[in-house]
């Protein structure tokens, strides 16, 4: 059966622009895989992968640049564009910004040379295989699209292939341009996290980044198959999310609705009662709320909505933990270099970056970025320019969806009064303030270590 793709009008625009530019390009396709039965996917917009030249140019001195660019141009020009690792990194960056319901569904290439064209399939398969292996939180294992654009013929062909069966060939697909994102329903929820992760002796010998990655994996297991309330009502999985009365079918079916979602986690009666004990060096505690957002097509079922919002919950925590992990990696290596000692993460509190929403200029959806407390609009704008290639106005960035916790510091003493871990950091701050502990502002990133001892673990 031929796969069909529904693409936003802005995609057509973007393709025209690419044709107009006439350069060699590679980039990612952002959209949504429809359900299996329908064999239909949705394309929302394209994101051009920045070329490596620009990156290299920033980090090297001028002389080196000249040398290098010469070398590159002479020897590696052909395949430099299709650098799997480079595109993979871009994919990670893009995936972090996408709301639930959307993911990277393919790759586009433009104006490739002969040798590049023959390498496309391998790169395509290799890239997605890497991604699947890395994390299925980023995207789902489905057939992915390849758009091949040629400025000469002024045409774009759409093909699809399942990266998990590379022996098969690309299949041609049908395309239809139509607005859809603006009509898709929007699901919102605020997800509360309070997670304890004892770090075993074995794990505590590994890098902090590895520890946080393991911590994240374990946390994911606590967010599986919740009971979902849609607009405060209990619904069955196979029901259609938004019922449309028959007489107004045509009109109402095309309107976006904001849907309030609640997620309830069952606390089942334990089937085994053995106590599990163990030595652990230290424990991670993750506490706070995350704002979650996802989109679903109009005729989605409750089950699809559940999957979409769960996907966003996982993805937002994944993005935050990864960003914090990257910071740890940097400071760990810095510290090692400076002090020749191993980095000790004990007795610290670290902020995860908070989420900000950005209105996509062409497509009616909200993208996200994550900022640490010392970052602001210009940082976001710069990142978006790099990752997506478009400009974002400051008004389009919503910084107030989430707020950083107020963190208190102890000046001299290490042992603070016992503060129940149940309190949010805000409440804890108030409590401490009331009993006369000093207040120092939270300091930023990398050095995001503020010495503070939570007196309790639960």
């Amino acid at each position: 059966m031929v796969r069909t793709y529904v693409a936003e009008n802005c995609v057509e625009q973007q393709i025209q622009e690419i044709i107009g530019r006439g350069k060699e390009e590679v980039g990612l396709i952002i959209g949504c895989h429809g359900n299996q039965k329908e064999q239909r996917d949705y394309v929302a917009f394209l994101a051009t992968t920045p070329s490596q030249d620009d990156e290299d140019a920033e980090s090297e001195s001028e002389e080196e640049v000249d040398e290098k660019t010469k070398l590159k141009k002479e020897e590696k020009q052909d395949v430099e564009l299709l650098d799997e690792k480079w595109i993979f990194n871009h994919c990670i960056q893009v995936s972090r910004t996408l709301p639930g319901g959307f993911e990277v569904i393919g790759v586009y290439v433009a104006n490739l040379s002969e040798s590049q064209t023959s390498a496309v399939k391998n790169v395509f398969v290799g890239l997605f295989k890497q991604v699947f292996k890395y994390s299925t939180i980023m995207l789902t294992e489905n057939e992915k699209i390849l758009i091949s654009i040629s400025s000469k013929t002024k045409k774009a062909t759409f093909q699809s292939l399942d990266p998990k069966s590379p022996q098969s060939n690309f299949q041609l697909c049908e395309l239809k341009y139509q607005h859809f994102v603006e009509n898709w329903h929007l699901l919102r929820t605020v997800f509360r996290i309070h997670f304890l992760f004892p770090v075993s002796e074995e794990l505590s010998c590994k890098s902090i980044r590895k520890q946080t990655q393991q911590c994240f994996k374990e946390w994911c297991k606590t967010v599986e198959d919740p009971v979902v309330l849609i607009n405060d009502a209990i619904r069955a999985d196979d029901e259609v999310l938004v019922e449309v009365p028959k007489d107004k079918a045509k009109q109402k079916a095309r309107e976006r609705q904001e849907i309030r979602v609640s997620l309830l986690k069952k606390l089942p009666y334990p089937d085994s009662l053995t106590a599990v004990g163990g030595q652990c060096r230290h424990r991670f505690v993750i506490k706070g709320d995350v704002s979650c957002l996802s989109y679903v097509r109009n005729k989605a079922t409750v089950h699809e909505a559940k999957q979409a919002i769960l996907g966003d919950i996982h993805r937002t925590m994944w993005a935050r933990m990864e960003l914090l992990g990257e910071e740890f990696e940097v400071s760990e290596s810095d510290q090692e270099m400076q002090h020749n000692q191993s980095f000790n993460a004990l007795e610290e509190i670290n902020e995860l970056p908070k989420r900000v929403f950005i209105q996509h200029p062409k497509c009616d959806m909200l993208l996200s970025d994550y900022v640490f407390s010392d970052e602001s609009a210009p940082d976001v704008q710069e990142r978006f320019k790099q990752v997506f290639g478009f400009e974002v106005a400051e008004e389009q960035i919503d910084f107030d969806i989430e707020s950083f916790p107020e963190i208190e510091l102890s000046k001299n003493e290490i042992i603070p009064p016992i503060v129940p871990a149940s309190l949010t950091p805000n409440e804890a701050a108030k409590l401490l303030r009331n009993i006369g502990w000093g207040l120092l502002g939270a300091v930023g990133v990398g050095m995001a270590s503020i010495f503070y001892l939570w007196g309790y673990f639960d």
Partner: protein
């Protein structure tokens, strides 16, 4: 709150019970080998129960109790509930599903309605006043941390007319109350400084109008718990000569008519009105019906006494005197060889046994003494009616009777002391069919028999098991 190691829930016929079964993971730290239980609980309760919103859902219905309001599936084509005028349900009676009338017999204990409730943590809410982004903190240097899965089985009694919006608060209170109870029990049963896992048990002693709930350490032997049980008997002013709080005595909420596939108390399908104007004296408590061909074992023609013995064993098991399984034919034969009553080749044979052998097995396997009654003629049994009635009133155990070529179980006697008329309630182990209650009752495999049931030409031995005086 008084520090009592148990809780009492009063019940009446109109009571609606919500039964909350859930589990929590609680972490306890140990210092110098001493587990800090109090601390572990305090922190847990503060974190999980006071600050984290909990929701309660009826297990098989789309009814959810949230803080402040009730959510009932509100789809247009939902046929389960229609709240009047589309308003939010007001009372508990509005919210809970109506129970369809059961056809056939209903046990008196099932007139009280019990609903299972699931506990849930509200992880995601549509919006909150402020969204504080998460922090990752590290707590260091714990010595030994023990993670214990704490099971909770709390029951909350409601009336139909109670406000639906108050249910959440009541359930939460019940949960908190149980955490107190669990903490008390964990501290009480702490062993060598280590925390023990505890399990909930509900009891309804002597079928009174209340349910007692307590927690016992998992795996602790019944003998070790005897002192604790005695204190329960004393506090609640209950007789101390019969077990009421052993694990085997636990109250079963579901109106199960079977246990392990066997039918329970099949005699209850019969009327309790005496057609001869007499007084009924019946077996007390629960037993399961054992008969030919059960357990895919063909003992047709020879196993009747064995089956009757199994029924008697089931009684001691169900009344909590023992947790030993019901012995099969081979087990029974082996026991008789072990006590020296039979030769080794007895095992695996199809030899009959009589009431003496039954008493030996009860003694050896369960530690139960029996009185043996001998009648030289089946016709004499009529005269023993009073004695049998006294047995059922005092002991209440099923009687195994063997004579002629048959063995039966007597479950009760109907005696008119004026006219001298007698009927016997007989459970017949010769039944070879399936566990079909209707057939069993209709065809008289369990039924009231007149004195002509007994063969006047045969002599009979009755084995009357005596309740051990234990708790």
């Amino acid at each position: 709150m008084e520090a009592k190691p148990y809780r009492i829930t009063q019940i009446q016929e109109s009571t609606i019970l919500l039964r909350l079964r859930c589990g929590f993971e609680v972490l306890f730290a140990s210092n110098n080998g001493e587990c800090r239980i109090e601390e572990g609980f305090e922190r847990f309760v503060a974190a999980k129960l006071r600050h984290s919103p909990l929701a309660f859902k009826l297990q098989s219905e789309p009814v959810l109790f949230l803080d402040g309001h009730v959510v009932v599936n509100s789809l247009v084509n939902n046929t389960l509930f229609r709240s009047e005028n589309g308003k939010e349900p007001r009372t508990v009676g509005d919210v809970l599903p109506k129970v369809a009338k059961k056809t056939g017999k209903t046990k008196s204990s099932s007139s009280m309605r019990v609903f299972d409730v699931e506990t849930m943590e509200v992880q995601g809410q549509p919006s909150t006043e402020s969204v504080t982004s998460p922090t990752l903190s590290s707590e260091g240097d714990l010595s030994v941390a023990t993670l214990v899965k704490v099971p909770v089985d709390a029951i909350v009694a409601l009336e139909k007319t109670d406000e639906a919006s108050s249910v959440h608060a009541k359930l939460l209170q019940g949960l908190m109350d149980h955490m107190e109870l669990i903490r008390f029990c964990m501290i009480k049963f702490k062993q060598a400084g280590k925390v023990v896992a505890v399990e909930p048990f509900h009891f309804r002693p002597l079928n009174n109008e209340y349910i007692v709930t307590t927690y016992y350490p998992t795996g602790m032997d019944e003998t070790e718990l005897e002192t604790f049980r005695r204190s329960l008997h004393v506090c609640l002013e209950l007789p101390t000569n019969r077990p009421l709080f052993r694990r085997g005595n636990m109250y079963r909420f579901n109106d199960t008519e079977t246990r392990g596939g066997y039918l329970l108390n099949v005699h209850e399908g019969h009327s309790t009105v005496s057609p001869i104007g007499g007084q009924l004296a019946l077996v007390q408590g629960l037993y399961s019906y054992h008969h030919y061909m059960q357990d895919r074992f063909d003992d047709n023609g020879w196993g009747c006494a064995y089956r009757s013995l199994q029924t008697v064993c089931s009684w001691f098991n169900l009344q909590g005197y023992t947790s030993k399984p019901i012995p099969n034919h081979r087990d029974i034969q082996q026991i008789l060889v072990d006590v020296g009553d039979k030769q080794p080749k007895f095992v695996g044979s199809k030899q009959w046994i009589g009431s003496m052998e039954v008493s030996y097995v009860l003694n050896n396997y369960l530690g139960v003494e029996s009185k043996i009654m001998f009648v030289s003629s089946g016709a004499e049994l009529k005269e023993k009616a009073r004695e049998l009635a006294v047995h059922f009133e005092n002991q209440g155990t099923p009687i195994m009777i063997g004579g002629g070529v048959l063995a039966h179980t007597i479950l009760g006697v109907d005696f008119n002391s004026n006219t001298g008329d007698v009927r016997f309630l007989i459970l017949d182990p010769h039944y070879t069919g399936a566990e079909d209650l209707e057939v069993i009752l209709k065809k008289g495999w369990c039924g009231w028999k007149k004195t002509d049931f007994w063969d006047p030409m045969a002599y009979y031995n009755l084995c009357m098991p005596q309740r051990p005086s234990v708790i």
